[in-house]
């Protein structure tokens, strides 16, 4: 079976060329797209050479998160999304055995989001979508998203959560890269909690959700969420809606997929033990500065990870999640 990396990004080459040439690209400028890292936009052939060197057979391509643009007019966001999805879709079409993808959609307009998701999956062979941890501050327990989840479930779409823009940490500090190194993981834990306590996982039992960056602090943080679920029985008013679900949140951990984007064996081991080995999928964050470099060699070198676990993470689980 192929080794599949579910967490890799692309900044559309046509965007890079346009904005570095002094033009705009669907109104967007060189302020976004992490242009200081050209590898986001390398050619398919060069990317495949990098994959070969790392022993990775397939990249699940997602656009660089700067291209979500949920804050713009929904029509414009959809135009940007379509341009991204078509350009990356072309990489997928030319190299179907090396690339598949998760599309971007205008989440601030649920109807458009659903129609773009349907288009991307039906016409461009995407396996699902990548979305932010919130939509302009609105979290995914909000009833306005119920039709979205219904469509996701009926299409069998994979939903990959990946933050964008200022994380919750930014309100406290901008220093030492903590908005990324801590913030990404905070935002993901809040997403886990929101989907669970908001009843989304119960309403839509067929959802296939993958939490990027190993789910952030979800696996480690479930213990305190469980405690609030139990403490809600004490009748303290603030706790009331911490009892909104039939089972403690930790029992929902195994309902999600988690990429393996961690950097130490102890952390990966904790995630595997908490969520189950069948829920962890290779994800590297290529080519971001925080990439999990040379993931196959890294995994092979971890003495506490068994061969069966490595095969599950690298091959079996990603294929099952994506329907490959």
């Amino acid at each position: 079976m192929p080794v599949i990396d579910v967490h890799s990004h692309v900044t559309p080459p046509s965007f890079r060329e346009a904005v570095l040439g002094g033009h705009t690209w669907h109104t967007l400028t060189d302020a976004i797209g992490e242009l200081e890292i050209p590898e986001f936009s390398i050619s398919a052939a060069d990317r495949i050479a990098k994959m070969d060197a790392a022993g990775v057979d397939m990249h699940v391509l997602t656009v660089n998160n700067d291209f979500y643009r949920y804050e713009l007019d929904p029509g414009l966001t959809q135009e940007i999304a379509r341009a991204c999805n078509e350009e990356i879709g072309e990489m997928m079409a030319c190299h179907p055995d090396r690339f598949t993808g998760l599309a971007t959609v205008p989440m601030q307009d649920v109807e458009r989001a659903v129609s773009e998701m349907e288009f991307a999956m039906a016409k461009l062979n995407y396996r699902g979508i990548t979305i932010n941890d919130h939509v302009n501050g609105v979290t995914f327990d909000d009833p306005r998203f119920y039709p979205f989840w219904e469509a996701v479930e009926s299409l069998g779409a994979v939903v990959f959560f990946h933050q964008c823009g200022p994380t919750l940490v930014k309100a406290r500090t901008s220093r030492y890269a903590l908005p990324n190194s801590i913030g990404n993981l905070v935002d993901r834990a809040v997403t886990f909690g929101t989907l669970v306590f908001g009843g989304i996982m119960d309403r839509y039992p067929g959802l296939k959700i993958c939490l990027g960056h190993a789910g952030g602090y979800s696996a480690f943080g479930a213990a305190r969420m469980d405690k609030t679920w139990r403490a809600a029985d004490m009748g303290v008013p603030e706790f009331a809606d911490a009892k909104s679900i039939p089972r403690p949140p930790s029992e929902y951990l195994s309902r999600f997929y988690y990429d393996s984007c961690t950097y130490t064996e102890d952390t990966l081991r904790f995630v595997i033990d908490a969520v189950g080995i069948d829920r962890v999928v290779l994800g590297t964050d290529y080519p971001a500065p925080m990439v999990q470099d040379d993931p196959v060699t890294w995994l092979n070198g971890l003495p506490g990870i068994t061969e069966a676990e490595r095969t599950a993470i690298l091959e079996t689980n990603p294929a099952k999640m994506l329907g490959i």
Partner: protein, 334 residues
């Protein structure tokens, strides 16, 4: 110096809502601008007498409680002089509890952190004159984090006095900007804020500048031990953003102590694996609704700790944190 066992089993994370406050506000009066909406008075245990507190400790098998004022008494947002008055009243009541039962109660105070001069003066008074062990502080001071240099004189004084700094959030935590439901401000937010405090103290160079500083991170340090993984990667990936650190964040993990408020064996085991049992100390968060129930029995029977690790968490680490000051506390008894 007393042998470590002299302290017995110590709970470093337990709170008191002072009666000087609750008697006033429950009588309908305003207390330094605070009201009955403060102090978690809906929880009857926050109005218990010292005798009731000690009965609860007896039932739980706790020998000594390191009692700290409830977080609402920080009041850093007020005029420093007003916060100082609140802190002095609260601290005097905690000191009175210590004087009444020095064998059972050790005290942490609160200080006006928004005014470091006053904070140092009150810290010196409560440790030097009132026999208290240190202070509990918020994860930030009106949005300012502890890497900022205005706090240096406070760390210097704390290190010099041998005072213990116990870090504990006050609402709202940084999660509330996203969502105000499902009690996340507490269940997620407390742990986020503590992780950021670890980051601020480490990247700000505080732990290096004050090598004798004793900092205990409440709620097991929040996500800190799990977060070192990506913090270290950030440290490697962004060399220009290393602040004042001399090594990766994980190399500072053992510079702190962590209470054992974890609720789940896997989480506690991970904490002990990362920092060592000699850096973990019993804490319960008594009498909050989130308190660890039957803490001593649960810790002893968790099934994931060796006997010597249990001993460290129940007695050894606390003796290291508090033992040096033990005699001094007794000498101040009337």
């Amino acid at each position: 110096m007393n042998p470590p066992s002299a302290l017995g089993i110590v709970d470093v994370h337990a709170h008191v809502t002072p009666r000087c406050f609750s008697d006033a506000v429950l009588g309908g009066a305003d207390w330094h601008g605070m009201t009955s909406a403060d102090g978690e008075l809906h929880n009857p245990m926050n109005r218990w007498t010292l005798e009731q507190r000690i009965e609860a400790m007896d039932a739980d098998g706790i020998d000594v409680q390191l009692t700290s004022p409830t977080d609402v008494f920080y009041q850093y947002h007020r005029e420093p002089a007003a916060t100082d008055r609140i802190a002095r009243s609260v601290n005097e009541e905690v000191a009175e509890m210590v004087r009444a039962r020095p064998d059972r109660i050790a005290g942490l105070g609160t200080v006006p952190m928004q005014d470091p001069d006053r904070a140092v003066a009150e810290l010196s008074r409560i440790v030097g004159e009132l026999g208290m062990r240190g202070v509990m502080i918020d994860d930030h001071v009106n949005g300012h984090t502890y890497d900022e240099p205005q706090f240096d004189q406070f760390w210097a004084a704390a290190a010099e006095l041998g005072a213990l700094i116990f870090v504990h959030q006050y609402a709202p935590t940084s999660v509330e900007a996203r969502i105000d439901r499902y009690f996340f401000f507490n269940s997620v937010g407390n742990l986020v804020d503590r992780t950021l405090t670890f980051g601020a103290l480490v990247y700000g160079g505080v732990m290096d500048r004050y090598p004798d500083l004793k900092v205990c991170l409440g709620h097991a340090g929040g996500y800190t031990v799990f977060a070192l993984d990506r913090m270290d990667q950030g440290w490697r990936a962004f060399p220009s953003m290393r602040g004042a650190t001399l090594g990766p964040p994980s190399s500072y993990a053992r510079r702190f102590t962590y209470d054992a408020v974890t609720y789940e064996p896997r989480t506690l085991r991970y904490l002990v694996d990362v920092v060592g049992a000699d850096r973990v100390v019993l804490g319960t968060d008594w009498p909050a609704p989130m308190r660890v129930v039957e803490p001593v029995r649960r810790l002893s029977e968790t099934g994931v700790l060796a006997p010597h690790e249990v001993e460290s968490i129940l007695r050894g680490t606390a003796a290291m944190l508090l033992g040096d000051n033990d005699r001094k506390a007794h000498e101040t008894c009337p």
